[in-house]
Symmetry: C2
Subunit: 368 residues, 2 copies
Amino acid sequence: MIYLDNAASSFKKPKCVIEMVDYALKFLTANPGRGSHIAADSVATIVYSTREEIKKFLNAPNYDVIFTLNCTQALNLAIFSMLKAGDHVITTSYEHNAVLRAIYSIKGLEITILDCDMQNIVKNLKTNLKPNTKMIITNHISNVTGEECDIAAVGAFCKEHNLIYLVDGAQSVGHTQIDLTKSNVDMLAFAGHKGLYAITGVGGLVVKKGINLKPLVFGGTGTNSESVIQPTDIPEGLESGTLPSIPIVSLYAGVKFVSKNFSYIQKKEQNLSNYLYKKLKNLNFLEIYSKSNSKNVFSFNIKNCSDRLVADELNQRKGICVRSGLHCAPLVHKKLNTCGAVRVSLDFFNTPEEIDALISTLNEIANS
Amino acid sequence: MIYLDNAASSFKKPKCVIEMVDYALKFLTANPGRGSHIAADSVATIVYSTREEIKKFLNAPNYDVIFTLNCTQALNLAIFSMLKAGDHVITTSYEHNAVLRAIYSIKGLEITILDCDMQNIVKNLKTNLKPNTKMIITNHISNVTGEECDIAAVGAFCKEHNLIYLVDGAQSVGHTQIDLTKSNVDMLAFAGHKGLYAITGVGGLVVKKGINLKPLVFGGTGTNSESVIQPTDIPEGLESGTLPSIPIVSLYAGVKFVSKNFSYIQKKEQNLSNYLYKKLKNLNFLEIYSKSNSKNVFSFNIKNCSDRLVADELNQRKGICVRSGLHCAPLVHKKLNTCGAVRVSLDFFNTPEEIDALISTLNEIANS
């Protein structure tokens, strides 16, 4: 099997993550923050350290980390905390349904979708600003084209105009350098199981201190237990119920792995991306939607051939795992004028040989 | 270490769960339902089987299983789907803040809290029924006293009066026999990591087919991706974003373990409960809040001694892990007239010797 669907979930986990989970299954299964005994304390300590490691990795000393089930819940937490009827939000056609479906569910919210290219976002923000504009939401790296948004430029614009800036980091965290403080990002949502190599079951929202969030879920927080009114403690008041402590523990190992090896990871992924793009460009039977500077994520179609068929053939012929369809991002496909595309997404554990196998199988399919 | 805090989370995991997670870390890390390749399909198959195993275990062929982060999110999903301003809900003082804080967050909702004992619930439901009563919510087994609610009696009452019945099964699923169909339960919320021995990161709502739920979270569902409007598919429309697939896979092994050994588990836990209660009863320095028929969960105080001090002493003297405080269930403590209690909670992996160690350490503390 050749796994090229890392934008959906990383497949291969670093040894330290596997070992950490193995250890956790034996010694870290108690409920953190729900008791003061040794078993609960051991987990609570690692949960705390995971928040700190994430803050360090993203240069976010003045932020809090709120753990959620996945990146989608983190985006929803940010969106439903900030936006209500009468507000105006500006976002882009690159967004995932985790953003789009959330904002379209808010009755009376005014929505502007920028249909421009990633590099022209700031110019377009300017012309679409309204007196009731409250928030800007952008993808950091597109989960369809791999194009990167200049979040520092958008962040500066938001700071200048006193707007809240939310970044969807599902495809960027762990893959590209992020400095939340310098970039003036107010909130960043991330997935644990993608570029940070944790197991599924945890995502998070990194939020600038001082921003008030409203809970999506109400329940036990381990704080103010005498009150039937949800407390406002951060992060507890936003993390009702038992934390996904084992996924968090795996995330601890994952973040440590990534931050320790980050320059090597970036360099290797950049080389793989360049290699893949160059090889794809040589196939004249392809229509390619990604750019030469796309990061890790590349989409294309074989001309006159359905994306689904190509993905199925890759899977059946050589066990090559890629995604077809709309990748939960319908508006960018509309912009690209496709009804679906084949998406190849890389991570640190891929190899040039796997890319060679992909290319030769694409040749086979096109010629069959 | 002696772990007696299983109501917060089971600590020891069955060998099959540990082995399953170990396997999953190597082969089941793809994203289920987000691709049609071999890696995604392998996980999707187990996720599907987990739903089926849960339905079988609870005799719920005419129900759906919706996976959430934890039991709290499952309860919130049920509550926010059903209740709005103007409705009336009846619940009990035994409830956890996962229920209480959720219902108290709904502005304009009329709330009746029954302060009666578990065995008198039905009689009290009758006298509190109103024309706008929509839903009854009860704990199945109290996380403070271990008392069991006769859910079949409440279910029959709800059926007769056309009310929605939601059961909080956090402390019962995996510990006591449940027949959802026979008991006329409309919705049951459960935690994966307690009586079902999964790792943290997954809970669920088992919901009767035909009941319409509203999503708490909006996003990618792997269905109708072309639409920016949340789809209504069940379960997908209620499970936005990446599923906690590794926790679910561990739940698969956990449910299989429990259902295969269920009569033995029940018998062993009953014997342990009886043994513990008898031993506690012999300690005349205790005030006990649980009953002779309490299941697995027993709360008490050493007279004139703070619950926190006793829990800390148990931890420090012999590494005995128990919970002090309010256990996120403030109203039952008010009813019991306590400001906190020491809670001992058992599961299948506990032993009489551990109970003996607890009892002798309690004696030591009381006499010191």
